[in-house]
């Protein structure tokens, strides 16, 4: 496989479509973005310390949206690999973390290689997605913290019910955070979500989570079993397209839904953005306190 990757100047892959162009219009790319990308990619093969990260990428490529022939048989599979290699070369300390592969694939589905790479970088650093993948996954902690607040505020009975069944936000929302819902919505539907995310950032993400939970609420409240509840929130799945449709069916109340519609409805939801921003901004202070008190407890425990 590495031979084909080394052939940098393959025939040009598909051009960025209208959806991709819309995403690009919401971010700023440097002038020589394409050139920079290929240079970075070239450099990614020269660093031995990237081997570990790259090995995991190689393992994950065949199982990223493998039901889509572009990624399983087509050249999408090599291009996805290259984008992820370049990404780890851009920030070797961060490396590759599972979850990135799904987002990268969804961007590639609508964009040419270098555009997908730059959009991915924008998500990482302008939208602070990178925080989710850092050691100890601090972003994950932050988003769970905000979601917990929103649950108490908007769906208090559901929050109580989760508590009674020993369910914490991380148990079901981690994958949503790390893949921006792309692993659940699958290739075809993720663009609707990503477009709104490029426009509104994490506020939209939170609204979407609350919309999904609100729609599942009545079903979940009837169940008093941790595993059964988690099975609704995070069903095990074989192929993502089928799973996306099955999950969608669970969200239907009276009307027939599409993911596009759910995205639209979620976007109209009102949440207290001031409080959300406040929680995000102050989160680091909270965690520091938390870690300190934990350290303190540990000290006490060790003392005879």
């Amino acid at each position: 496989m590495s031979k084909t990757i080394h052939a940098f100047y393959l025939e040009k892959n598909q051009d960025t479509c209208d959806i991709g162009k819309k995403w690009l219009s919401m971010t700023v790319l440097p002038d020589n973005s394409e050139h920079y990308y290929y240079n970075l990619l070239k450099a990614s093969f020269e660093k031995e310390f990237l081997m570990n990260s790259n090995k995991q990428i190689d393992l994950d490529i065949p199982r990223t949206f493998s039901e889509c022939s572009y990624f399983s048989k087509g050249k999408g599979n090599i291009i996805l690999q290259r984008v992820l290699y370049a990404l780890t070369r851009y920030n070797p300390a961060l490396g590759y973390v599972q979850g990135m592969n799904y987002i990268a694939a969804c961007l590639l589905y609508h964009c040419k290689e270098s555009d997908a790479f730059w959009l991915l970088l924008r998500l990482f650093y302008d939208y602070n997605l990178v925080q989710n993948y850092l050691p100890r996954l601090p972003g994950l902690e932050k988003h769970s913290h905000v979601l917990e607040y929103l649950l108490i505020e908007h769906l208090p009975d559901l929050f109580e019910h989760f508590n009674r069944n020993g369910i914490i936000v991380q148990m079901f929302a981690t994958e949503w955070c790390l893949t921006l819902f792309t692993s659940l919505l699958s290739l075809e539907n993720s663009s609707f979500f990503l477009t709104k995310f490029f426009e509104f950032g994490w506020v939209f993400f939170y609204k979407f989570v609350i919309e999904v939970l609100d729609r599942l609420k009545d079903k979940i409240l009837l169940i008093d079993n941790t595993m059964e509840i988690l099975d609704i929130l995070k069903p095990i799945r074989a192929t993502s397209t089928k799973a996306a449709n099955e999950f969608l069916k669970n969200l239907e109340m009276y009307e027939k839904l599409t993911w596009k519609k759910v995205v639209k409805i979620a976007c109209l939801r009102k949440i207290n953005e001031e409080v959300v921003n406040y929680l995000c901004e102050n989160f680091e202070a909270f965690t520091q306190l938390e870690h300190e008190s934990k350290d303190h407890c540990n000290d006490m425990y060790i003392m005879p």
Binding site: Q98, P135, Q170, T174, E175, L178, K234, R237, A238, S240
Partner: protein
């Protein structure tokens, strides 16, 4: 007959077949390119063993090193752990040691551990000697199974063994809670490497 409900967790390096083993056992399904697990999957199965029945709640975790930071969220209160390695990948076997260490110091004291050498349908590419793996597990007093999620080899036996060991180790809690509330307190003391009382504690 009494039913015991218990949580078990799958651990091990990425792509060794944790999800595949769980899926094979619970749903008898196998997918060559199983979707990579981000965070965790949740599966359940009711197992009949001679002594009673055990409801296994399987928390199937993500294997990548970065997710190790949140692994303790998952093995907390687990009664059993299935540590998986890939027989064709030396590095994945080395990880088994560190998982066992972590579980013995961080998890429930009487947690039952079994080790699975998965992908034994790929015998030609084997990198870990079978005797080496067996000897290692014998020293640790942990049962070792050769499994293949693809063919189903060893999968049923392994989960059955896990279920019955867990049943043995926790049967005191099945009846009235009076006696074992005292036992629960004793576990506060640090008793490292205390083996569970399962009769079949030895290795295969």
């Amino acid at each position: 007959m009494a039913t015991m409900e218990c949580k078990i967790v799958t651990l091990g390096e990425g792509r060794v077949g944790k999800t595949s083993l769980a899926l094979k056992y619970v749903k008898n399904e196998f997918h060559k390119d199983e979707i990579s697990t981000v965070n965790a999957n949740y599966l359940t199965k009711l197992v009949q063993i001679p002594q009673g029945s055990v409801q296994l709640n399987i928390w199937d975790t993500a294997g990548q090193e970065r997710f190790r930071a949140i692994a303790s969220n998952y093995y907390r209160q687990a009664k059993g752990a299935l540590i998986v390695y890939d027989i064709t990948d030396r590095k994945s076997f080395d990880k088994v040691v560190s998982w066992i260490k972590e579980l013995k110091s961080q998890a429930e004291k009487n947690i039952v551990i079994v080790v699975a050498g998965n992908k034994c349908d790929m015998e030609k590419e084997r990198q870990i000697n079978r005797p080496e793996a067996l000897e290692f597990c014998r020293k640790m007093q942990i049962r070792h199974f050769d499994t293949s999620a693809k063919s189903g080899n060893g999968v049923e036996e392994m989960f059955m063994e896990l279920a019955s060991q867990i049943f043995e180790a926790n049967k005191g809690e099945l009846g009235q809670s009076g006696r074992n509330s005292r036992r629960g307190k004793i576990t506060v003391e640090k008793t490292k490497h205390r083996e569970n009382s399962g009769k079949k504690g030895g290795c295969c």
